[in-house]
Symmetry: C3
Subunit: 139 residues, 3 copies
């Protein structure tokens, strides 16, 4: 059994879901393991990781709309405002979703279901450079 | 150290929590490892995994009620409606909970607390067949 | 490759975030692994684990305020009330956050970003003793 790690950097386009399934899959498949466990970890507190439907883009738009209503920018509840009206909402959205994901590897492929994609969720309004650490255990 | 994987299929009874602690524990204990790490991964975007209280069934009913109020079926916010009024809420509920869980194995047993059970949470109203991939690292 | 496990116990001060980064880091670094994967698992259903900003304490206060508004104590929606008005909200808060976290180890250090800390989130009003199981895979 071996371990492998890398850090992938992504440039987001501002708030929204960025599909990172292909670059993640490429790195995993280049390791040529049959069975294993991939862990993704995002090194930020205003972005998160999500497994979601990859078929209808309306799903992603609806997710955004729901979270925008649930955690409104500029909510007067928040005192941490010096980094902008979208910063504290970004932290809350990160707390409500995931900083880390692990996905088993079966027969050399990630065990994602047919409709599952892996997304990096940017919660800030502006584009950011985000780092995702990958750890693969396999054989 | 070795790895083992399997895929368990569950027939849900429609929306609600399905206790999968026993089948998961059975599979893990049959592997006869002393120390390790179990990872569960659900291959769907409208169901999720949850560790929750296994004592009072009212806790599960209250969880359902809370999520039904937080993410109402048929909410006019949603544009992705062609799969039914409970489909987009199911995706949101999945985003708010977990697609994956990892649980350490200590002295040959899952490290669950006394009151912790492992649940598969069906978010669609109708029954579905759901697959959960298990990956066990152990020795 | 080796595995190591331990259980850390923390005394919380009642509802709020308890920074556990240092004790976790100390245990990990004493294992002297270069590359690996740390998994933390909380053995309770009314507390959770969170990676969040460690810079401005207002972020933590705002997180608390947001969750107190989202899941109000004593909400009439809840039937599970015999353990107190903050018990069912604690279960909901745990369902909305994480029971488990995994963090890769790179060059002998946890791959946390500059502003990331690891927190144990007590959701009950009163102080509790909480157990967090740590599992480290490494070499």
């Amino acid at each position: 059994m071996t371990q492998d790690t890398t850090t992938l950097a992504f440039q987001t386009r501002g708030r929204g879901l960025l599909d990172i399934t292909q670059p993640v899959r490429r790195w995993v498949e280049a390791r040529a393991q049959r069975t294993g466990l991939l862990t993704l970890f995002v090194r930020h507190t205003s972005a998160s990781l999500l497994v979601q439907e990859n078929a209808d883009p309306q799903v992603q738009a609806d997710l955004e709309r729901f979270f925008a209503r649930l955690v409104p920018d500029g909510d007067r509840l928040f005192e941490h405002t010096q980094e902008g009206p979208d910063d504290m909402p970004a932290h809350v959205r990160a707390a409500l979703t995931q900083t880390q994901l692990s996905i088993p590897l079966l027969d050399g492929r990630l065990a994602l279901g047919t409709w599952q994609g892996v997304y990096l969720w940017e919660h800030r309004l502006r584009p950011h450079r985000r780092e995702v650490v990958l750890h693969l255990l396999g054989e």
